[in-house]
């Protein structure tokens, strides 16, 4: 099994979630995060002083999927998350050695 991790723009979350649902994904874990990257942060003002805020709000998705689904789902996420503007985010894939469903104890593919 593989873990797909995606960091996307918050206002695309709904779209991405729906697309993944449509693609048959059964589970996602989502975290609010702050991203630093090429997308410039922004300036904030505090009583006449400007300061740079480097971090931009992002959303991090994590999905455990069968190896066979990885390419397809990466595609789905990419399409749904893309705005074409800088800061759209990244997707990365890692290996999950085991997966267990707590409720049933099912393992591996059955636990997805």
């Amino acid at each position: 099994m593989k873990i797909i991790t995606a960091v996307i723009k918050p206002f695309r979350l709904d779209e991405v979630k729906e697309a993944l649902k449509g693609a048959g994904v059964a589970g996602i874990t989502v975290t609010e995060v702050q991203g630093f990257g090429r997308q410039a942060g922004h300036t904030e003002v505090y009583r006449g002083t400007e300061y740079q805020v480097d971090f931009v709000p992002k959303v991090r998705l994590e999905l455990i999927v069968d190896e066979a689904d990885v390419d397809r789902l990466v595609e789905v996420i990419t399409n749904a998350a893309r705005t074409g503007k800088i800061g759209d985010g990244k997707i990365w894939v890692t290996e999950a050695e085991r997966l267990i469903r707590i409720r049933t104890g099912e393992q591996g593919h059955d636990a997805i």
Binding site: F11, D14, Q34, H42, T43, E44, V45, E50, V53, F55
Partner: protein
């Protein structure tokens, strides 16, 4: 007189406190990226409109009071000759300040409809101009012995001048700026209802000054208005929650808050003119009617973000018309024709309807022209990216909540 002055002094403070209350009532319902922008619009309304009112608005509204006309004059520009009184009357400067707080909150009510997409500069010009071209005339009509008052229509504390006026203006602005991006597609749940409930508490508290203060005296009429301002919103909360329960499965805190505010709106024109059980009935009905009026925005395809139409416009119309049914001369001697249900015939009812329609039409048309002109020149709506990122960051270079 001192007692009356004391009551109008504190009532003025109470009404001013309502605008921050409104800011939070609305602010809790928007998404967090637009929270500060909502607060800003409301607080800024105090800053700008207090000055506009001082310089010109009060004079246009209350100059030549009692002339049965359409607008005041320029006698009181810059509060000239608006003095401290001689101790036997309510100080004119106090009356002007009390009225100022109404002139501030009325355009601020519009911000609920236009949430999440107004350009700040355009908004500033909008409310400044609106205050002069729409608010002052309408206040003259109904509060300063203008044609509406002369015709015989009544408005105790602003059903016409505040709620219908602002509600119609909201529609006009919505027609110009259109819907939020994503409206109807993505849910836009309130980001933090506790702020909305806090705002509700402050609004209710301040509304005692709004309604009972409009008696301009610490007397029995103020007392009845106070009672009505407690009981009508309470009954409206029950009305709203009952429909909510019947139509869905849940009673919600936002429903409780919305119902209460609907009741406050509806009782506003009636507060010092109707009896105790009439207030219960008006409130209860307002809760139901305003809930049902939520569908209007969909029918009219208007993205009235926080339901200014259902609550303020419909609530204001209902209250103004209900006064034609329940007005009670035993409560307030000013009532010449009692309401229909009290055997006073349809005279007052008709006046109330005429006045409501007139204020609605006038505000709708003039506001539309103003909004259109601003939109065509400096722009009244932010661009798409600003809307996505959020107004707080782009317009105000601030973020509501900073954790890191």
């Amino acid at each position: 007189m001192e007692g009356n002055i004391a009551w109008v002094l504190i009532s003025t403070a109470l009404v001013l406190f309502m605008t921050p209350g409104l800011a939070f009532f609305y602010g809790g319902m928007v998404r967090s990226k637009n929270f500060l922008a909502m607060l800003m619009q409301n607080f800024f309304a105090i800053g700008l409109l207090a000055v506009v009112w001082t310089v010109v608005g009060y004079s246009l509204a209350f100059g030549s009071a009692g002339d049965g006309g359409w607008i005041g004059n320029l006698d009181f520009l810059g509060m000239k000759d608006v003095g401290l009184g001689d101790g036997t009357v309510l100080p004119p400067i106090l009356f002007a300040t009390f009225q100022m707080t109404f002139a501030i909150i009325t355009p601020a009510l519009i911000t609920g409809a236009t949430a999440d997409r107004l350009k700040f500069a355009g908004y500033a010009v909008l409310i400044g101009v609106w205050s002069i071209l729409v608010y002052s005339p309408v206040a003259h009509w109904a509060f300063a012995g203008g044609w509406v008052a002369e015709m015989g229509a009544l408005d105790f504390a602003g059903g016409l001048v505040v709620h219908i006026n602002a509600g119609a203006a909201a529609i006009a602005v919505l027609l110009v700026i259109g819907a939020r991006k994503g409206h109807g597609k993505e849910p836009m749940p309130p980001h933090a209802l506790p702020w909305t409930l806090m705002g509700t508490g402050i609004l209710w508290f301040g509304w005692f000054g709004f309604n009972a203060g409009s008696a301009l005296a610490a007397d029995g009429i103020a007392a009845q208005a106070l009672f009505n301002t407690l009981v009508a919103p309470a009954a409206a909360m029950l009305g709203w929650l009952i429909v909510e329960k019947v139509k869905g499965k849940h009673v919600t805190t936002l429903g409780a808050a919305s119902g209460a505010v609907a009741g406050m709106v509806a009782i506003t024109p009636c507060a010092g003119f109707v009896g105790s059980m009439a207030a219960v009935i008006i409130g209860f009905a307002a809760g139901i009617i305003c809930y049902l009026a939520l569908f209007i925005k969909e029918a009219a395809k208007l993205d009235d973000a926080l339901d200014v139409i259902a609550v303020h416009l419909v609530g204001g119309i209902f209250g103004s018309v209900a006064l034609g049914l329940f007005a009670d001369a035993s409560i307030n001697g000013i009532v010449e024709h009692e309401g229909l249900f009290l055997g006073g015939g349809a005279d007052l009812l008709i006046d109330q309807i005429v006045a409501s329609v007139a204020v609605f039409a006038f505000s709708l048309i003039v506001t539309y022209v103003i909004a259109k002109a601003i939109d065509a020149t400096m722009g009244l709506r932010v661009d798409e990216e600003t809307e996505q990122v959020g107004l707080d960051q782009v317009l105000h270079a601030e973020t509501a909540y900073n954790n890191l």
